[in-house]
Amino acid sequence: MDDIVKMIGLKNNCTFCGVFRRQALDRGAALLKVDKLVTGHNADDIAETVLLNILRGDIARLSRCTSITTGEDGPIPRCKPFKYTYEKEIVMYAYFKKLDYFSTECIYSPNAYRGFVREFIKDLERLRPRAILDIIKSGEDFRIATTTKMPEQGTCERCGYISSQKWCKACVLLEGLNRGLPKMGIGRPRGVNGDHKKDTKKPGPAVKSIESKQCGSLDFQNFGN
């Protein structure tokens, strides 16, 4: 990750890390021939993700992020058993059971968008602790308007894993890194060769709005930050 950040700078770090880590999890799980992949996402994480997707207008993720199990029709379903467990409960449990755990914060996370949402949710929790569960409940009950266009699931042309675009996000990001184009796969797709010229041109009105969009706003493949 340090090498990646040297190349891409301190923005959009979460996109690279999240996509590659999840790809590693997927590949590892396939190698071990497991039935299910289970992660430790807790209530605070899910609530943060719901708000994050609302703030970024990521409708595709919004519809998926509160499912406790995803990918049931795929090779390896994923599950989040701690979906309703507050982070506070987990920390208290670990403390009283004297469990050893890593408590380091990601060194690149201070710049992450999620940090603002986390701060907000923590303030909410202080005033009304049920807010976290209520946000999750709202997220579960969202229904997407039938007129909204949603991505379709296909396969990546390069590696064969599931993807909603021609190439899956991991392949796009990797290609960008290998070709020295750190912005490839970040922001709205602009056609085959557009990305690396983006910064040198004077931005017109359309480009300005794209430049101000956060990472992952319109690309779909990965499973959320």
């Binding site: 920390v91 009283f96 914060e105 996370s109 923590k122 929790e125 930050n225």
Partner: protein, 99 residues
């Protein structure tokens, strides 16, 4: 009074990476009660060596930091108004980690 303070979940990094501190605190002026509120400002002044905003926000702890007084959640004993007694153990654990 003698108190034992513990810092966990990454907070120890703010106090020279020392997890357990045995301290001696005086009562605030003209009072014979020491509350957690008094303790917090004492800690901020005397123990927190860097980034105080990671520990406190205003008069109270930063949201996301758990406070246990004698292994009991401070929300059950009155939060900032919890009174402390000699030989009490106060634990501060940060729940904020990960990405």
């Amino acid at each position: 009074m003698q108190l034992t303070l513990e810092f966990g979940g990454g907070l120890e990094l703010l106090c020279d990476s020392i997890k357990i501190h045995k301290v001696n605190i005086n009562f605030p002026n003209e009072s014979d009660i020491l509350t957690v509120k008094d303790l917090l400002s004492w800690v901020r002044t005397n123990l927190i060596k860097e980034r105080p905003e990671m520990f406190m926000k205003g008069d109270t702890v930063r949201p996301g930091v758990l406070v246990l007084v004698n292994d009991c959640d401070w929300e059950l004993s009155g939060q900032l108004d919890t009174t402390l007694e000699d030989k009490d153990v106060v634990v501060f654990i940060s729940t904020l980690h990960g990405g």
